[in-house]
Amino acid sequence: MKIGRVAGTVVTTICSPVFEGRALLFVDLLDLDGKETGADVIAVDAVGAGAGETVLVLDEGNGARQVLEAPNAPVRAVVVGVIDELELQK
């Protein structure tokens, strides 16, 4: 999984059925210091994450389909957690 920050939303009315009624979040990926890596991903929100929150992103298809209970859906990235705190060993 990856760490990211919710930077916005994407609205798609015409879309694959799995995305209907689900929020798509634009997530900037972060390094362990909380800095943006320059990479980003659009992920389906599975936890109700809000603007600016630091989140856990799953970017792997099988896990994503299990989370969304959509066995044959073309989905790969899902926000699966809101991070309260990161603690690193010095």
Partner: protein
């Protein structure tokens, strides 16, 4: 998934089984500022409604084939949504 802009179409009359009738579009991946990022790729149109100049969402790797009407098919990028709006939250 990532954002992309449809920039062209591909016609291939000889094509692997499973891809007959599937629209193939050239898409340029974009960043959040809608600036081009990386090289264009050919994507299958999983919503069957994307048109040139449309802003779309694309999915890559194996998941792309699941966007086709009869998966799995031999594709590595697929359009899975047509974007109406991108809302950027300020910090």
């Amino acid at each position: 998934m990532e954002l992309a802009r449809v920039t062209g179409t591909v016609v291939a009359s000889t094509i692997y089984e499973g891809l007959e009738g599937v629209r193939l579009l050239i898409v340029q991946p974009l960043d959040r500022k809608l600036q081009p990022r990386g090289r264009p790729v050919v994507a299958a149109d999983g919503v069957a409604m994307a048109a040139p100049d449309d802003l779309v969402t694309i999915v890559a790797s194996r998941e792309a084939s699941l966007a086709l009407p009869a998966p799995p098919g031999p594709v590595d990028h697929a359009i899975v949504g047509i974007v109406d709006a991108v809302e950027e939250w300020s910090r």
